[in-house]
């Protein structure tokens, strides 16, 4: 028997808050975070400055005299041709376009994903492969034939037509995400439901949907962002009474009355991006969870 001496390390291992590792990790993250924040900072700061100050100072300097006039102007006074009522005119149109488009596109894509993951019928994979290829086709290529299709369907210029366009072009990526997500749900659950006498729609609405909150959050974020930010479809496939906010943004940013009103441009830019930004900030945690479920298992 050897008598063990009780010196040497004991108790919890000492932890240093400032270790080389931590400095490296947080240092890198902070530098990167700054890089990401600078544009937002510049946008906000600029939107609060008056025009003379912008011309004088540098873009990173905080405003000497804070003014909200550019925001007011962007929201309610900036002109597009003869209409000088700013972005507010397009805001409700954007809502009217985004809400139905997001709902319809997600509904259809989730049903696609469900049918693909759980009801693999003959040929389903072929259509899915075509959709995947479709994800790579630039919208510009499809612009013209789409006009013809909508004309033949009698939907050209209507809100329904625009919803259809968003549904079609959002379908590939969304279907991919939903298909992957539903494939991660245990197959036995689906089988159990079938034995319990639930049909295609019953399983979808009563078993799958209640389990799919995370992926729906992801889909909503992606679609709200995409559709809210869309300019091309909104302007090409509808009439002026439905023009979304981005059309006014384009008009404000691309129109120059002598001097570019950078502050108004920036305020308009932030205002336009506000809805998707808020959705991101509110649901960021769910977003990561949903992504984890929808993209990780292929």
């Amino acid at each position: 028997m050897v008598d063990l001496t009780l010196d040497g390390p004991r108790g919890p291992k000492p932890r240093r808050a400032i270790s080389g590792r931590n400095i490296m990790i947080y240092g890198t993250l902070i530098v990167v975070a700054l890089y990401y924040l600078i544009p937002l900072y510049v946008m906000v700061v600029t939107s609060l400055k008056g025009l003379p100050e912008i011309r004088m100072g540098n873009i990173f300097a905080p405003p000497v005299e804070i003014t909200f006039e550019p925001w007011v102007k962007a929201w309610s006074e900036a002109c597009t041709g003869l209409n000088c009522d700013g972005l507010q005119r397009g805001f409700w149109n954007s809502v009217r376009i985004t809400v139905p488009s997001v709902i319809v596109s997600i509904l259809i894509a989730s049903i696609n994903g469900y049918a693909l993951a759980n009801w693999r019928f003959k040929g389903a994979e072929l259509f899915f492969a075509i959709l995947m290829i479709g994800a790579f086709i630039p919208y510009q290529v499809m612009l013209y034939p789409m006009v013809i299709l909508l004309r033949e369907l009698g939907l050209y210029g209507s809100l329904t037509g625009l919803v259809l366009v968003h549904t079609v072009f959002g379908m590939p990526i969304l279907t991919l995400l939903f298909r992957n997500y539903f494939a991660t749900l245990p197959d036995e659950l689906f089988k159990a439901a079938r034995v319990d006498g639930t049909g295609f729609w019953g399983i979808y609405f009563r078993i799958m949907l209640p389990l799919s909150l995370p992926i729906f959050v992801v889909a909503v974020i992606l679609q709200v962002t995409g559709i809210w930010n869309d300019f091309l479809f909104g302007v090409v496939y509808t009439r002026p009474q439905y023009y979304p906010m981005t059309v006014q943004l384009n008009n404000i940013v691309n129109t120059t009355t002598g001097v570019k009103e950078y502050n108004v441009n920036m305020a308009a830019t932030i205002l336009t991006g506000l809805v998707p930004l808020v959705i991101y900030f509110v649901s960021g945690r769910l977003f990561v969870r949903g992504i984890a479920a929808g993209a990780v298992k292929g």
Partner: protein
């Protein structure tokens, strides 16, 4: 044995009928929009359509013009530069950031939100902001010079040789956060026991990430690759907002070439020919891959 009550084999089409009915929108989209429109585009690429599609066939004339057009050649070159840079940098940076975020750090939510918020903005906004930040008279260059670094020169948007890198910077700003989140989600999905095993084996963390974790991330990498590559091929708004193809034609990209030909030059035939080339390229790359990735899978 009651062989008599053999029920007839149901008509193949009606098996899982509801699933097929539910898939009709997808089938129509795949066939009418993606296949149909593509074929339509290919057919009209052999015509001399101007402002409106016309069945005025001219053989390969549009293709001959296309491949002798410097703007198109520059577009392709730019897409290659942009694509390679985007793939390499967004994956490398996104992965490094995801690894850092995976170190059980404090304020993870804050960092994640900061890295992800640009993804909520449209390309138009990104283009405008970065055009501004990279403007030599207003942005980074003038500020650095203002601090006394007189020789500082960073002016990609006015230098035709490096303009694509200016575009890449903006695109990375917008897109890397999303790649990071996708990969982070993948990292979170990796079994803890793998980490325990490598700790006991004494494998350094970075090696674990590179040789153990990366291969395990294959599925999420595939999804990310699809999303990033699709974005690369389609890049248009960003370039229009940031450089509008300039200076000169040095930052033209294929999608913009297509659009410009169709609507600016009122030469649909030429636009369709360029579209067809893009379609063919995409198909050549994607079809074998899609077949391997999505086609061969069986129920076990």
């Amino acid at each position: 044995m009651a062989q008599s009550n053999v029920s007839g084999r149901p008509f193949r089409l009606f098996r899982n009928l509801n699933a097929k009915i539910a898939a009709i929108p997808m089938i129509l989209t795949a066939l009418v929009i993606f296949v149909g429109f593509s074929l339509w585009t290919v057919v009209y690429s052999f015509t001399k359509s101007g402002l409106l599609p016309r069945q005025d066939f001219v053989g390969l004339m549009q293709y001959e013009r296309l491949w002798s057009n410097t703007k198109w050649l520059i577009s392709i070159q730019n897409l290659l530069i942009f694509g390679i840079c985007m793939l390499v940098f967004s994956f490398v940076i996104g992965f490094v950031l995801a690894c850092l975020m995976d170190q059980k750090i404090r304020f993870e939510g804050v960092f994640r939100t900061i890295l992800l918020y640009p993804f909520a903005l449209s390309f138009v906004v990104t283009g405008v902001v970065w055009q501004w930040l990279l403007n030599p008279d207003l942005g980074i260059q003038s500020v650095m010079r203002g601090f006394g670094w007189e020789s500082f020169a960073f002016d990609p948007l006015n230098n035709s040789r490096i303009v694509m890198f200016g575009v890449v910077i903006a695109a990375l700003w917008q897109g890397t956060g999303f790649v990071m989140v996708l990969l982070l989600a993948g990292l979170r999905g990796i079994d803890d026991e793998i980490w325990k095993a490598t700790r006991i084996d004494g494998i350094p963390t970075w090696k674990t990430y590179l040789f153990v974790v990366v291969p395990m991330l294959r599925p999420v990498m595939v999804t990310t690759l699809v999303i990033v590559t699709a974005g690369i091929v389609k890049v248009y708004d960003l370039v229009v907002a940031q450089t509008n193809g300039g200076p000169g034609v040095s930052s033209e990209v294929p999608a913009k070439y297509v659009y410009d030909q169709m609507f600016l030059n009122q030469n649909l035939g030429q636009g369709f020919a360029a579209s067809t080339m893009m379609l063919i390229t995409v198909a050549i790359i994607i079809i074998p891959w899609a077949y391997l990735e999505f086609g061969g899978r069986k129920r076990g």
